[in-house]
């Protein structure tokens, strides 16, 4: 029986077109729809499933970010998490926060809450860093199981099937451990109406990084955020000869 800590990040919804700010200091977030990072949804689903199978006693959802991050914690609780911890960081500071900061916060919370398992999404779809789970394991000095495709309870701990280049790898680990959820681990459930209502009454604790004794001083400056280059328009040529001539002209053949 274990207590599970899941990380849930608030990101720009995957169906929204991301736009770079005109001053190139970042992307437009004002008035843009946000939702839970899809990989974190998978992590929540896995934790809730463990609880349903009585492999876990309690599921705690954690989010680090500005005031609105509480929304994704509510969503996690509507999916089945028991309670939430919101580590509030002001927006301006949040933009310079990196996986190193987040992993220190998560590690501290894992110890404070006496968690036996930390499950995180393998990466967030906004910065695509794919570092937080690995760093959290390092800070805690716990074993890590990343890119989980399947998580099974075995006597000594967990048997994990991992997605790796060209196939799957099966490993065994003891707990406590840090795991990261890959795409095929499960299909997250929808939060149903009665559970959305119930989630409103579940406890949500608010703390700051300072309360936890974690230094979140920025280690980077954002110099410029740019759009990817725009694909050049194609052209139609009359026949094969013209095509060959064009290709030669462009130095392609």
């Amino acid at each position: 029986m274990a207590r599970v800590l899941v990380g849930v990040k608030r990101v720009i919804d995957y169906a929204v077109k991301v736009r770079v700010k005109p001053d190139k200091t970042g992307v437009v977030t004002q008035g843009v729809k946000h939702s839970m990072n899809p990989f974190d949804e998978i992590a929540v689903e896995e934790a809730v499933k463990m609880k349903e199978k009585k492999l876990a006693t309690e599921v705690i959802a954690v989010s680090v970010g500005p005031a609105q991050s509480a929304e994704v914690i509510r969503t996690a609780m509507a999916m089945g998490a028991d309670r939430g911890v919101h580590v509030e960081v002001p927006q301006a500071e949040y933009e310079l926060l990196q996986p190193i900061h987040i992993s220190k916060i998560l590690a501290k919370l894992a110890l404070d809450e006496k968690a036996d398992l930390v499950i995180l999404g393998k990466q967030a779809i906004d910065d695509d860093a794919n570092q937080t789970a690995q760093m959290t394991a390092a800070v805690l000095n716990w074993p890590q199981g990343t890119f989980c495709n399947k998580i099974e309870k075995t006597d000594a701990g967990l048997t994990i099937t991992r997605e790796i280049d060209g196939g799957l790898e099966t490993i065994k680990t003891k707990i406590p451990a840090v795991l990261s959820a890959d795409l095929r681990l499960n299909t997250p459930r929808y939060a149903t109406l009665p559970n959305i209502m119930k989630a409103k009454k579940k406890p949500l604790k608010k703390v700051t990084a300072k309360d936890l004794g974690i230094d979140t001083t920025p280690r980077i400056d954002i110099i410029s955020v740019e759009d990817p280059p725009v694909r050049q328009a194609g052209a139609t040529v009359a026949d094969v000869d013209a095509l060959v001539a064009k290709l030669k002209e462009g130095g392609h053949i």
């Binding site: 919804d13 995957y14 169906a15 929204v16 899809p38 795409l183 929808y190 149903t192 109406l193």
Partner: protein, 525 residues
Amino acid sequence: MRFQRLLQMRRLATSASASATLMRAPKQTTHHSTMGTSLSVRTMAGSGAAIPELTQITDNVQRGNYATLNDADVAHFEKLLGTNHVLTEDLEGYNICFLKRIRGNSKLVLKPGNTEEVAAIMRYCNERKLAVVPQGGNTGLVGGSVPICDEIVLSLQRLNKVLSVDEVTGIAIVESGCILENFDQRARDVGLTVPLDLGAKASCHIGGNVSTNAGGVRVVRYGNLHGSVLGVEAVLANGQVLDLMSNFKKDNTGYHMKHLFIGSEGTLGVITKLSMLCPHSSKAVNVAFIGLNSFDDVLKTFVSAKRNLGEILSSCELIDERALNTALQQFKFLNAPISGFPFYMLIETSGSNGDHDEEKINQFIGDGMERGEIQDGTVTGDPGKVQEIWKIREMVPLGLIEKSFCFKYDISLPLRDFYSIVDVMRERCGSLATIVCGYGHLGDSNLHLNVSCDEFNDEIYKRVEPFVYEYTSKLKGSISAEHGIGFLKKDYLHYSKNSVAIDWMRDMKKLLDPNGILNPYKVLN
């Protein structure tokens, strides 16, 4: 967009061939040859594995008294449009309808680039008495946009420009061959939206939508195209350009002739340009997917939605248990939020204030649950989740034609009697049918009735038709709510329009197209 590619991968992984078979129609070409009457294949969807037999043969169509295309004609068109825009080979995509039910035998496809070229083509064809079928994205469901015999295909695909979008007035001027989704994207760039949305949006043309008065899932909010289209420019059968463009919502000058071209399915003229009143796109969209225990509860919930969500309600769809389960079985990548109810509703709100709308929809659902009308469900404002829930609704029609033969009907019925036809039909068909189900646009009283069976047989056909039309007619419903009449339903027009009306339609057709060269074999017998 970033996560979507990954999601697609998961879908592929979990449903081996789902995407490959998505558009494939079920096996049953063989029926055509075994069926005695031409009538018996009329309204069925999803026929034909590879290439169906020529419709002229299967449906016994007598070719009209038109001239036959010759080399001089082709040379004339090549001179007019340039050789690149005159096709005489590989015409299958233009000859076969979306459902692979109709196959014409056209030898020529013309792709004009502007109104003048369309006019020149029509003038020439009228003089030569060559029949013409205007074609947009070829996504119609009643065979209205494909040739039946050897009509020349007039493809509007090069008239694809959005000419202007006025942010202040909300009026957009667009050429008829513009793809609906591209048009909508342009409108969205300035904070507007096209007041029309339907499953085929990525390939259908706005001109085709207007010509067929297409419905879709937003009619409950924005009304149909007779209201949204402010003006059209159409080329008549004789090549005359009829300019009925208007930049104003209010214009009571003379007869409102634009309406003649909205929904007349290309039989009275070829729409080349139109102006559309585009509403502002909503900042906040919320979707609820709910389960209910009876159709009575569905009606109560609908009334409650109108009352409590009135000004923000943008869609109200019904899916019954059998329709939903069929889609879920066929497409494993679909993830239904709830299960185990006889009826499901998809309710969407679109408004300007997210918090405000959320409060309203939560109140609406809370009250419904308290009264015991709404049993369970989910509600979300996350754009990704909204899309996923809509996907369930959009896959329902495809699920039904995926593995079986399906009789499909698109009817308008009074809401009180909206669903009873499904039960009546189920009883009539008994064990002959595998699935009898209904879904559709409850908010517009538009039911899609479907009767599936393993393969076509005359026995079940006789139980279904003409019963379904008689039943609809008795209730003063419409036998074609949004798909049109086209080729497939012209024999049934009389169930919804009396002979006086049909005679006047014929006279109007004669007046505007005396030689009958525009989209022949369609709408009227």
